[in-house]
């Protein structure tokens, strides 16, 4: 059981390329179809909960399913399993980058990658924005926060708390 948990989430961690929602089909396949650890309804609920709790969806699901199937131990095993592939691969990449940092070709790669990543981060804002700007209140909050950030440099945590308050006020 614990072994099954470990293997399933290791697979999920290994094949989740592309971040965020790309993981969902794998989680769905493993947790619901193959192993029957969750019903579809529960999966949707967990998705909703993952939106409002810290951490990536893969970790949230791993912890939740792990707990359901094997208690606290299960949650630790599943969470570790889902992180392990990333850990190994990123460490290997980091090690090689460190070694070849001074090489001109590596530097050339990153020179162009930096603005490309900038475009990517901007696209993430757009992507998130698509679901978010459902009404004028959301737009107002967004503009307000952007202005505060640009002219005031408030602490990020205070901003999030403030935004939460605005949410309760406006809605």
């Amino acid at each position: 059981m614990i072994l099954e948990l470990f293997l399933a989430f290791f697979k999920i961690g290994l094949f989740s390329f592309g971040g965020g929602y790309a993981m969902l089909p794998f989680i769905q396949n493993q947790a619901i179809e193959v192993h029957g650890w969750l019903t579809t309804h529960e999966f949707l609920d967990i998705l909703g909960i993952a939106q409002v709790t810290p951490g990536p969806i893969s970790i949230n699901t791993a912890t939740f399913v792990g707990y359901r199937t094997g208690g606290v131990l299960g949650s630790i095993v599943a969470t570790t399993a889902v992180i392990l592939p990333s850990f190994i691969i990123v460490l290997i990449i980091s090690f090689f980058i460190h070694k070849f940092k001074e090489s001109r070709s590596v530097q050339n790669i990153f020179k162009g990658l930096r603005p490309i990543v900038l475009g990517l981060v901007a696209s993430a804002a757009v992507d998130i924005g698509r679901g978010v700007f459902i009404d004028y209140k959301a737009v107002l909050i967004s503009i307000g926060i952007f202005l505060i950030l640009t002219f005031n440099k408030m602490n990020t945590i205070k901003i999030l708390v403030f935004a939460g308050l605005l949410g309760v006020l406006f809605y």
Binding site: L118, L120, A122, S123, F162, G164
Partner: protein, 183 residues
Amino acid sequence: MKLFKLFMAFFKIGFFTIGGGYVMLPLIQKEVVDNNKWLTDEEFLDAIAIAQSSPGAVAINISIFIGYNLGGFLGALVCTLGTALPSVITILIVAIYLFQYREISIVEKVFLGIRPAVVSMIASSVVVLGKSLGFGWDKIIFAITSFTLIVFFDISPIAVILGGAVVSSLYYGYVDRKEGEDR
């Protein structure tokens, strides 16, 4: 003790990374680049590139990469723990005590406020990072192309990064050779 400071920083970051990995970016920028000066803006962008190119959540990958750069294997471990722990603890609390109460409307309202704010935070990060990269037509073209491909052509970010790495290496290799010839 540096490892402890790293852990606390990423625990803080992990705690507030709510609703998706990209929220983490402005938080890391504030904590790791601005406050602690552990990384430059450029190194931060490099970390994002690597995080996108590996399997798994961007938030975790970034923690591993930055942790390794700042403290080797232990650093990677400590940062990853810092990021994952708030998540694990919160979900366990939810699973054990709160799953039964999942339709709490005030919580929904808090997040209706937070989500648009997150968009602004990311936008603001982009502005800051853009300023630090500085002006250059090559950079502008790279940035706009990547943005367009992802937003309007639905190309996956990892394809953009891998393709971009190749293009960038070829382009700047060419620029180097030209500069060599002109001398």
